[in-house]
């Protein structure tokens, strides 16, 4: 009897491999598909990334560091950091507030509100800049008032911050809403019933629960805030050393045929992009639910799958 059982177990792998054989046959097909996908991604992802660094270092390391340490480049870096440091926290507070209201309570018009929060994603960055020109430009709705009070919004720092706030508006909210909805409100209710105050509940219970999703949203929001070009370009007025963010500095240098310097500044942004992707992969590894949370689009269906 035992030998019979052992015989059966030994037979089993043979049977499985027999059954698998027809699926193994098109091995060349599989290799062809992998090769086609990798060639496509190589052409469209790897080469563009590579060319940035090759062009930036094309005239040697000295020229590269010379371009990066140029005073105008430094002004652009400082402005970009300042804009991101202003826009990300503001959208963070909004994202947490919106997610708290939407995930923890039932109210009418909730789906409409979620759609409205996503609205900036459907708007071209150029139009995002245009709307603030129409409001605060010289001929805009509040143009006369602002001029009378010597306040500059458009072609100045406030306009850049506003345009950046607009294009990065949905990022953090849309990462937090599904995560907080999935977590429900039982944890918070127990904390309250044990005597914690509302703020204590938020800081001690909710925040630890959502910390990875929060970081994820901040990461994506920051990448877009630092890299935004179209909206900022429209409202900035390209005042050198004053309203040029890093992407705008790249454009100016490039249009002056100063390609090495343009690619040198671009290489800093490319490194930021790679850091963002690495951090994103780390967060997805910590919290697998975050996977497929696409940086840009609405992604409700796929979230419901995972």
């Amino acid at each position: 009897m035992p030998s019979h059982i052992i015989g059966a177990t030994f037979d089993l792998p043979a049977v499985t491999s027999q059954a698998r054989r027809p699926r193994r046959r098109p091995r060349w097909g599989r290799l062809l598909l992998i090769a086609a996908a990798l060639v496509f991604l190589g052409l469209f992802l790897v080469l563009p990334l590579l060319v940035v660094f090759v062009q930036a270092l094309g005239k040697g390391v000295v020229a590269y560091f010379g371009a990066i340490s140029d005073p105008m480049a430094w002004e652009a870096i400082k402005l970009t950091l300042f804009v991101a440091a202003t826009a990300v926290p503001l959208n963070l507070v909004f994202g947490v507030a919106a997610a708290w209201a939407i995930a923890k309570f039932e109210f009418r018009g909730k789906n409409t509100l979620i759609t409205l929060i996503d609205l900036p994603f459907a708007v071209s960055p150029v139009i995002a800049g245009l709307i603030f020109i129409l409001l605060f430009g010289a001929h805009g709705w509040f143009g006369g008032y602002l001029r009378a009070h010597h306040i500059r919004v458009v072609f100045a720092l406030p306009g850049i911050v506003l345009a950046t706030l607009f294009v990065t508006f949905p990022f953090i909210a849309r990462e937090l809403i599904p995560v907080m909805q999935a977590q429900g409100k039982a944890d918070e209710e127990s904390a309250l019933s044990l005597g914690a105050s509302g703020w204590q509940t938020f800081w001690r219970v909710t925040l630890p629960n959502i910390r990875w999703a929060l970081l994820y949203g901040v990461l994506l929001c920051n990448a877009r805030a630092m890299g935004e070009f179209g909206a900022v370009s429209v409202v900035s007025g390209h005042v050198r050393g004053l309203t040029n963010t890093m992407p705008l500095q790249v454009e100016i240098l490039y249009n002056e045929y100063n390609h090495t310097a343009a690619f040198a500044v671009a290489s800093l942004l490319a490194m930021l992009a790679m850091l963002t992707l690495a951090a994103k992969s780390f967060l997805e590894w910590r919290q697998p639910e975050l996977r497929h949370a696409v940086l840009q689009p609405r992604d409700r269906t796929s979230r419901e799958h995972t």
Partner: protein, 286 residues
């Protein structure tokens, strides 16, 4: 004495809400949303109403505007179709096969979201310029990519690359492999299995990824302007025309194009929404 707290516990709030902060957070959300998004966006609509219908129509029907809208739509459509095909391929390869550096390749797919568009623009231009790494091979073949509408398609394909991959991937991961195995034991060829079993399940995700890539491509500006050449009537996209009208202080003309693009984008957004609800229903009802 005991009855009061118990009653309070069961009905702590008229609406049955136990957690605090509803009024504060919803109020803040509404104010912030209105100030930053709703009021500024309505400024475009109201400004265009001020134009009057005949001025609006005149501005939108100008040959240069029509050409730019046609180019934006045509190039975005081709780019989104390319992304639908290659996105499906990439998603399939990433979920079904194992190969070296698969994780790295998977992470790289999101690069177009993370890389600032201006950087993508100058990088693609450097690649496809006549003396670039790719342009030098295409030039003898008589194919010019940089500074032509073809260059616009390349830039828009880059920008939209992750959408179809990231919408199709989770559906593929969830797909019940037993159904495919059953089809195989019933004698279906791999091609038949793919066409009859796999593809029908992927359709909604593919369509929604396609629509997202299309919508993104329509409004894209930064990556396109470097590679496009920007010749009026030939290689000038609609967002660029808005910018050049603004630079000439033609606010009315810029607003008119913006309204056309906004209406079309919102129609797309609603379409995507409906599609995703339908797909979720279909998936849930399975």
């Amino acid at each position: 004495m005991m009855a009061a707290p118990v009653a309070a516990e069961f009905r702590p709030h008229p609406a049955g809400r136990i957690l605090p902060g509803f009024g504060l957070t919803l109020g803040y959300t509404m104010v912030y949303l209105s100030l930053l998004v709703l009021i500024p966006l309505s400024a475009v609509i109201i400004s265009s109403l001020g134009l009057g219908w005949s001025h609006f129509w005149e501005a939108v029907m100008a040959p240069r505007v029509v050409a730019s809208l046609r180019l934006s739509f045509g190039a975005s459509l081709i780019a989104a179709l390319l992304n639908a095909v290659f996105g499906l391929l990439v998603a399939w390869v990433l979920t079904r096969y194992t190969f070296p550096f698969r994780r790295l390749v998977d992470a790289m797919v999101d690069l177009p979201f993370a890389l600032p568009t201006a950087v993508a623009g100058i990088a693609l231009t450097a690649l496809y310029a006549p003396n670039g790494w790719l342009g030098m091979w295409l030039k003898p073949l008589g194919i010019a990519v940089a500074f032509t509408p073809l260059g616009i398609v390349v830039a828009l394909t880059f920008i939209g690359l992750p959408f179809v991959v990231r919408t199709v991937q989770p559906v593929l991961e969830d797909l019940d492999r037993e159904v495919e195995q059953a089809a195989a034991t019933l004698g279906a060829s791999p091609a038949q299995i793919f066409a009859r079993v796999v593809l029908p399940a992927l359709w909604p995700a593919m369509l929604s990824g396609f629509a997202l890539a299309f919508a993104r491509a329509l409004g894209e500006y930064g990556s396109v302007i470097f590679i496009a050449g920007n010749m009026p009537m030939k290689s000038e996209i609609a967002p660029l025309l808005i910018v050049s009208k603004l630079e000439q202080y033609d606010y009315a003309g810029a607003t008119a194009i913006a309204v056309v693009m906004l209406v079309l984008s919102f129609a797309l957004l609603l379409g995507i929404n409906a599609l995703q609800n339908w797909a979720a229903l279909r998936h849930g009802g399975r």
